[in-house]
Symmetry: C2
DNA sequence: ATGAAAGCGCTAACAC
DNA sequence: GTGTTAGCGCTTTCAT
């Protein structure tokens, strides 16, 4: 099970050839300095005399030395690993974002020498996986992404004193002290609604999720407020359903039976696409006849015909800020505000543009 | 070693409160056994007398002890971490798959206590990131996903004696000795083409990538062979372009100027959606008038109107097999064959079904 | 079946 | 500035 070749001997004189990667001792021997000096060259180069530093650095390069992570981690109690629980979308929307988000996260984290540790857990238990990683000191911190109403991860991690940042505001406790970051869903829906109003639509419907979804409620409020401000009564224009193309298609048909409705703002691209389906079935033109805007700017919104306008979350920025905040938390530095809210933007495609023809 | 029982602190009286997670020593003290016995309880439970085991186990549970990963890793030279370089899609196709693939991978790996370590690297340098992780013994093995023609990762890792499995066959060296797994793209295209033939289409076009793409060539060969077997001359029916909706849309228009062409098999869903765009612009019905099949069964294929048939890779299976092979490699066990080929399946939606009407 | 000793590779203290 | 010493928490001989 272990290495067949016993790499470095227990005998004091044994050091035939380095069977594994070079260690600090190898470098020290080669450079004719002590191990500590090599360590300093790595971690506190300013302590070394320039000529020594150069010499050590040269040996490091020549040998292709990289400090052993396990040893360093054991000593410094820092793994430079950020834990992220990764599992199938819980609320339909998150999945579409995950890819973009992960990429940005990995790229940003690597700038400071951190890597992402992906783990999974029992879908029934939102805490599964966290505790074990924590107790085994496998990660420095967590990024928590699935902070829907009632999810206990934040409280759990806070109680255990584990460093973490949440992507998603603490819906249930607005005054929560932990660090978090979120995208303003209401502002996104506001953007979408205003855009449709500018396109000349008045009676604009909302297709959203069940009332239990706080994210959904937040987004919906943006639509409702904007409509009211424009002097349009939203009563009867809001529909609640599950995040599913076919459910949205049928709901849209129902809504469209009222010919005064000419616009849809949707809580997700999935729902927006459902509206597009209904329009296709009715032989009506998206954009020209009925304006439709989705949410999250998924790949499907971009490639579907004739293009679905959508509210886009600044995920690259989210990832950067998340990592930045994490560094503050890890350094025990004070954070100006526990929460930070980012503004989404609107990507306009033909589904909400009046003046285009195939 | 001054005080074997006295962890942390050089002074006997230092730090009464357990500042960190419990260690093996804590458990040993609490259970009244030596540290090694606790270690054995964890790693070789059969060595312990049942009653001792029970007692130790009870203390472990009560204290919530998990072995420190860094220490264990330092000692056993195994991190239980699998490295995966994660970056924006290199060939258009991979991105759509990544999400499903990653989920399966994380879930499968966790069954044996392994986690996924995501890292990134300079997009210009396909080897960036691997070497450092290797030298710092941060991961046990790699899963390499971007093995297009000419990508040097496999050779590099093999030369360094690093354990890894490739998702993607060694295009340039068919006899390569390293472990790999791939999905049979030609078989997928064959499935799609045969399906369109069965739907009554004869002159079936191919929309694929540039000749330089080996994956693309492989898939194309499935289309070409099947057409030939059916007695249809594929000459002039194959188009090469970049993986882009609009390029595909324009190419499809061009192809459709020949009214004898009534089917499209595409190297990706992106291209398939481009064909759908062209059909919409021409007022022709997908499925009823022209059959279209994409590749990779992306989310967009599922939610777009009227549903895009697509060849689906068994990514869950891929992930499982990858991990299984990795375990063999890590255990230095012989692998029956270096390469393993998995068959894709066809997901039929309305874009290739003749008998449906909106 | 259990215990003692050694050491994986590194860095934080403290000499010199 | 550089070297010496002492562990971080764990597993692996080797005794008992």
């Amino acid at each position: 099970m272990t290495h067949p070749t016993d790499r470095r001997g227990h005998r004091p004189d044994a050091r035939p050839q380095p069977a594994g990667p070079p260690t600090l001792a190898t470098v020290a021997d080669e450079a004719g300095v002590s191990r500590q000096t090599v360590s300093n060259a790595l971690n506190n180069p300013e302590l070394l005399r320039p000529e020594t530093l150069t010499r050590v650095q040269e040996v490091i390069d020549r040998l292709g030395y990289s400090p052993n992570r396990a040893a360093r981690q054991l000593r410094t109690r820092s793994s430079h690993l950020i834990g992220l629980r990764f599992e199938p979308a819980l609320e339909g929307t998150s999945n579409a974002l995950m890819d973009r988000f992960l990429h940005s996260l990995v790229a940003t984290a690597s700038e400071t020498g951190h890597h992402l540790l992906l783990f999974s857990g029992d879908p029934e238990d939102p805490l599964d996986g966290y505790d074990d990683l924590l107790r085994s000191t496998a990660v420095d911190a967590f990024i928590v992404t699935d902070t829907y109403a009632g999810t206990p991860q934040s409280g759990f991690l806070r109680d255990r004193g584990a460093p973490f940042v949440a992507f998603g505001r603490p819906w249930d406790e607005p005054g929560a002290a932990h660090a978090w970051l979120d995208v303003d869903g209401a502002a996104g829906a506001r953007l979408a609604t205003r855009h449709l109003l500018e396109q000349g639509h008045r009676r604009i419907a909302w297709l959203g999720w069940e009332r239990s979804s706080r994210i959904g409620q937040d987004r919906r409020s943006g639509w409702e407020d904007t409509l009211r401000e424009a002097g349009v009564d939203p009563t009867g224009l809001g529909v609640r359903l599950t995040d599913n193309v076919d459910a949205a298609r049928m709901a849209a048909h129902h809504v469209l039976d009222d010919p005064t409705v000419t616009g849809f703002v949707c809580a997700s691209d999935t729902l927006g696409l459902g509206v597009l389906h209904a329009l296709a079935e009715r032989g009506r033109q998206p954009g020209a006849d009925v304006g439709v805007v989705g949410f999250d700017d998924s790949a499907a919104a971009q490639v579907t015909w004739p293009g679905l306008s959508s509210v886009r979350q600044p995920l690259e920025r989210v990832a950067q800020d998340l990592v930045e905040i994490l560094h503050l938390v890890l350094a025990h530095k004070p954070i100006a505000e526990p929460g930070r809210m980012l503004a989404p933007s609107l990507v306009v495609r033909r589904s909400s543009l009046r003046g285009w023809t195939p």
